[in-house]
């Protein structure tokens, strides 16, 4: 098996899971606080509101792609490479994407957290 295959899977997982996370976050901000909404209108209303959001459908497609990329990655490479590499990189790409696309206030605390968690995940795999 080509040694580049697991890394190709990692790049695919990182890009698609970041896309999925950003779209899911956007969906849920549009839906509103699930707890409040459920108390006011019931669970069925909450579910309908989430499922009818076009961003949610796109997010699920992106996450499904990430899931299958993970399955390919796990069958091609070691779990100790594929999972930590994709997970740690996703923390950093999500911080960048959240700032650009969701306009979150990613201050020095959150950048530090993303980098520390990403580094920590890599150390756990050693």
């Amino acid at each position: 098996m080509n040694q580049l295959y697991p890394w190709a899977a990692v790049v695919c997982i990182v890009l698609t899971s970041t896309t999925g996370d950003v779209l899911l976050s956007r969906t849920m901000k549009q839906v509103g606080d699930v707890g409040e909404l459920r108390r006011r209108s019931g669970l069925a209303h909450v579910l309908a509101k989430i499922l009818r959001n076009p961003n949610f459908v796109l997010a699920i497609m992106a996450m499904a792609t990430a899931f299958y990329a993970m399955l390919f990655g796990l069958s091609w490479g070691d779990v100790s490479l594929v999972i930590p590499a994709s997970t740690s990189l996703t923390f950093v790409t999500n911080a960048v994407a959240a700032k650009i696309f969701l306009h979150e206030a990613v201050d020095h605390r959150r950048w530090a957290a993303a980098v520390l968690v990403a580094g920590g995940v890599i150390l756990l795999a050693l």
């Binding site: 901000k29 989430i50 999972i83 957290a113 993303a114 968690v117």
Partner: protein, 145 residues
């Protein structure tokens, strides 16, 4: 942040790590998947470990969506990385595995990262309000910590 909200974040961490572990175990039993047999990667979800793993990942998704409805993505993701700390503690104290100094350093880095994030506000962007919501203050007044 209420106790209930911390429980939701804990749910994200626990369900994600259980789901990933089960799927990983199932895939190891399947072995290498060829690009020429794409059908096998779809049929793999019928294996018990993978199917159970998918169920846990669905529970993870429910908790994750709930958390994202009241907190930023850059708040939810680092706080749920507590799952890696839990996994290491389980490996050391329940499974009695040898945990190397590098892994303890990783646990420490993740803990500090989570500590940084949880000191700040959970939400920094305005949520869309329902027409009958009476809260209409400036964004900063609605920012939740």
């Amino acid at each position: 942040m209420t106790f209930r909200k911390y429980l939701v974040l804990a749910g994200v961490a626990v369900f994600a790590v259980t789901g990933d572990s089960l799927v990983s175990r199932g895939m190891k039993q399947v072995g290498g998947v060829s690009l020429h047999h794409l059908a096998s990667i779809i049929l793999v979800v019928t294996r018990p470990e993978v199917a159970l793993g998918v169920l846990f990942l669905l529970a993870f998704l429910a908790c994750y969506l709930t958390a994202l409805s009241w907190a930023d993505l850059t708040y939810v993701l680092p706080t749920t990385s507590v799952s890696f700390i839990l996994l290491t503690l389980v490996a050391k104290f329940i499974l009695h595995e040898n945990v190397s100094p590098a892994r303890w350093a990783g646990v420490l880095m993740i803990s500090i990262g989570v500590g940084f994030v949880t000191q700040g506000p959970a939400l920094t962007v305005p949520r869309r309000r329902e027409p009958h919501d009476r809260v209409a203050g400036p964004i900063s007044a609605r920012t939740e910590s």
